[in-house]
Subunit: 309 residues, 4 copies
């Protein structure tokens, strides 16, 4: 630990590929954006931090990519916390409501107590109205016919104008900004500085780039991931995709089934699934919906394995 040369000529770590986009706004939705304001650290900083833990012991053994993959695979999260990034975002309040639930961030948001609200709300185009998913109570699926969407869009546009008129009238009458804003729509844009360490950012991305996340926040998350994090820490990004985004988890029950199926013991697999209560039948003789079974079947499909029941 005491090699004196480690102590010389230290400079703040910079990453050229990220410096190139510093301050550049990536557009999201109709009037939102994300841009990087500042950052600290790089793939190298992660390796450096890990090596403090490991001391001399592992110096030669592992190379950077292998070490980063090892850390990611085994959930050694602290070295990833050594990197930090600060973004400036413009986002509808409705999306921000989900965003702000990630508690490990540092945040300064535009205040509509201090200042007049941002005069814009997110508009939905006629072909962007999504239909309620039947399967997934919290999701959407497909789009409303654009012809029908037309009407909703026009209605929305009129509503926004009306609300904005009411807001302005209140302000003109001297109503306090903190109260005048109370009927602005959730779609009103806000802005914030948002700062987070890389470990927690990856956790955010894992949840918000997921296909179950709401489309709006998914668009923001995807840009943070693919336009920003990928440029910033490419080795970490690769490991994140392999071990988090595109990995698959099998429960204890699923591992038992996988073993039977892969070894061609299909009837034993059916017995096991029976035992788990996955194959129950209702009075009409139809199989009762079991989310555990359905999700397992999806994994089997990804593996091109036969569903034994």
């Amino acid at each position: 630990m005491k090699e004196e040369n480690k102590f010389e000529n230290l400079k703040p770590v910079t990453v050229n590929s990220l410096d190139e986009i510093l301050g550049k706004p990536f557009k999201v939705l109709d009037d939102g954006f994300i841009r990087v304001i500042d950052y600290m650290g790089s793939d190298k900083s992660i390796v450096q931090a890990a090596r403090v833990s490991y001391g001399e012991g592992t110096k030669k053994v592992t190379q950077d990519r292998g070490l980063i993959r090892y850390l990611m695979r085994h959930h050694h999260s602290t070295p990833f916390e050594m990197c930090e990034i600060k973004l400036h975002i413009r986002v509808p309040m409705d999306t921000w409501r989900q965003w702000i639930r990630h508690r490990t961030a540092n945040v300064n948001e535009y205040s509509t107590r201090y200042s007049i609200a941002i005069n814009n709300a997110q508009k939905t185009n006629p072909d962007e109205w999504r239909l309620q998913s039947g399967m997934n109570k919290q999701g959407s699926e497909g789009f409303l016919d654009a012809g029908l969407g037309n009407q909703l869009t026009e209605e929305e546009s009129n509503l926004h104008n009306e609300i904005w008129n009411i807001y302005n009238k209140r302000i003109e009458k001297g109503i306090a900004r903190e109260q005048a804003r109370k009927d602005l729509p959730l779609s009103t844009y806000t802005e914030a500085y948002w700062k987070m360490d890389l470990h927690n950012l990856l956790h955010f991305l894992r949840l918000r780039m997921d296909s179950h996340a709401q489309l709006e926040i998914r668009k923001y998350a995807t840009i943070i991931g693919e336009e920003i994090v990928k440029r910033w820490v490419p080795l970490t990004w690769e490991a994140f995709e392999d071990y988090r985004m595109n990995s698959q988890n099998f429960s204890a029950l699923e591992m038992e089934l996988l073993k039977l199926i892969g070894n061609n013991k299909l009837s034993e697999a059916v017995d096991k699934a029976e035992e788990y209560g996955w194959l129950r039948i209702n009075k009409e003789g139809k199989r009762i919906k079991s989310l555990e079974r359905i999700e397992f079947e999806e994994k089997l499909k990804k593996l091109d394995f036969k569903i034994p029941w």
Copy 2:
């Protein structure tokens, strides 16, 4: 630490005065509420935790009240973290936006992705429209004449109806709940389970019971403080009022001035304030506004001390 009798007959700690109001909704605003769902710990638990730190050493010395006051005075915050409370609240989303900024809480909020939004938004009565403060860019001051307020209230009521119609129409057309909600007003009610430890709750109350906090959240905070925390941990509440809510902080600069003023060295005090840049004059010969000076003057008034300039 090894007195065996400490290990016997342990029961979950309960506080009778809090048990009496368990589940009871305290009304806030026109349709909001707060109620206690569950809690853990009491004044006794704080003392118990502090005594683990102090070991045998301080056993006889301090009594509960004195010890709790000592902990509060010296910002020994960890024993207060040993108490936990869980509330069920119903609150306008606009207020919730401020509330959720307190990151140390555990939260489960009603989801308008899963379920139809709560069909109610906070209404403002004709005599409740507040005027923008001139002094304080983020505050309000006084009320609009109720006659004028009448019109704003009616306008708001119509707006709420219209928005609700639009929301319902979208739902009927099959639009996903997650998107249909996007133009609901910020005043729409939401509900949440909100759990926090006592130390962080007191921090929340200090900020949100403060006269600079927005009236709506102040009403919630005041009920939490005076109806709930006071019943739960009365000794802690008393110490909190003395050392946090009603205490006064004097900066290094202010301490120097206080010393001069209290010892009747008024002209020296003026020189010192001059030196601080608090008494600068603009071209018209008027004293330039200095927030540091103004806030100090307010403290002097509280002490009935003479303002020397």
Copy 3:
């Protein structure tokens, strides 16, 4: 959300099977223990919190066990945060060093600044000296012969006595406790109150019950898991075992291989592994150690799948 009957007859949640062991010390190591001091919540509280999120929507659909399993499977962690537990532990400082790294806990530790240090250090029996693992740089493997261990144990015992004499001598000479303690061994026992929510506790258990965790902390974690959490929230514990402790994660790369192997395309699997760089050969013609490959092979063994290379 407004069924009035939900608001009545509320009592603090209690769990009989946990109440039975409240305060009872579970022994760990030669002189350590863990005991439950207090707790808040139960399996029911998790369900209740989740249902606030879901509103009326899912009320009938899911039963408690299914809902808890769903939450666990999909990393919906906030309902688990609604439960809280407070433990009193006695643990060697060396183990405590690892324990305290979990930052989400509330902690009050016995202070050796205030009080005389606890006069006991953890002793190692002759048959308990573990050998350094060759494979795993941070692990142990097997035991030293107890005959040889004898000498180490005696040496340790003498050392502890000597250190304790030096500590006492310093105290007698009036040296401050905060400084006198500086040469106590890391094996000295300390005590603490340690409070955590269930979500973070499960994360702690996942890391510390793992076979890679150091034996000492693993013993503590195992007792917390199997003697305490299992009694407290049995449905959650079952789900945790299925989806966390005994589940298996397959990376994107591993999923591709699994698909080939399970569909009996073994030579394609070898090509793929080649492409991943898992099968490289050194100058002596020996396969270079690849942790990614080795860990995958272990997973294949669990599935009784053939290793194709």
Copy 4:
């Protein structure tokens, strides 16, 4: 918020006065050090973040110093969280035990499971042995005579050698590093990368630069404050000294007394103190020790105010 020129030519923020000492180790104790590895942000970043909150509203009004002082005075902590610093420290484990209690840090510590322990423990010179404070159960006061200290120092030196021999012997016998280390003294040095945002760092400094903090950690904290933070964010440092380090808090009770004393109503002040229970007399007619009274008397002394009883 949408001035397009804000979006151009952004570079990572650097601070020349801090860059000059980047990587330079500041020595602490006999073999410890602190050095800055990297950082993010500056006084300017704090102002920038605050102005996002305030929007256009306050643009011209406040200048940087005034704004930073305002933020500090009113505990608007989020803008200070926008700055981040990463240190490399070498510190005795006993000091690290206190340090690690600050939970908001990101940490990678040297692992004595992976690697041989750092072969050095903090030595105490003959004139550095501190005496137990009588008043303050957790403090020290004055020094042991260096003649007597000589013996303690020699004893310590021998003890360190002996422990190190035992550690080496265990390692030679093949004992796992994770177990061999168990009897190392608390004074053994460790190293860590330690990263924190500025708001939480200032909180750390307030507690650890305080005269009640243990001397060892106080030395580290003082260097972080006066050698590092002062160079990094000079305006913030000045505000921190005025409003935190050198400010004085007066409780509600103390404010009442101050008002009476400053207005020369001394007998009323005595009555009030009587009422508070500060002037109670024991059977021998001696005034019972009251920490609240004593601490207030100290504040009065700082103000050169007369103690009225």
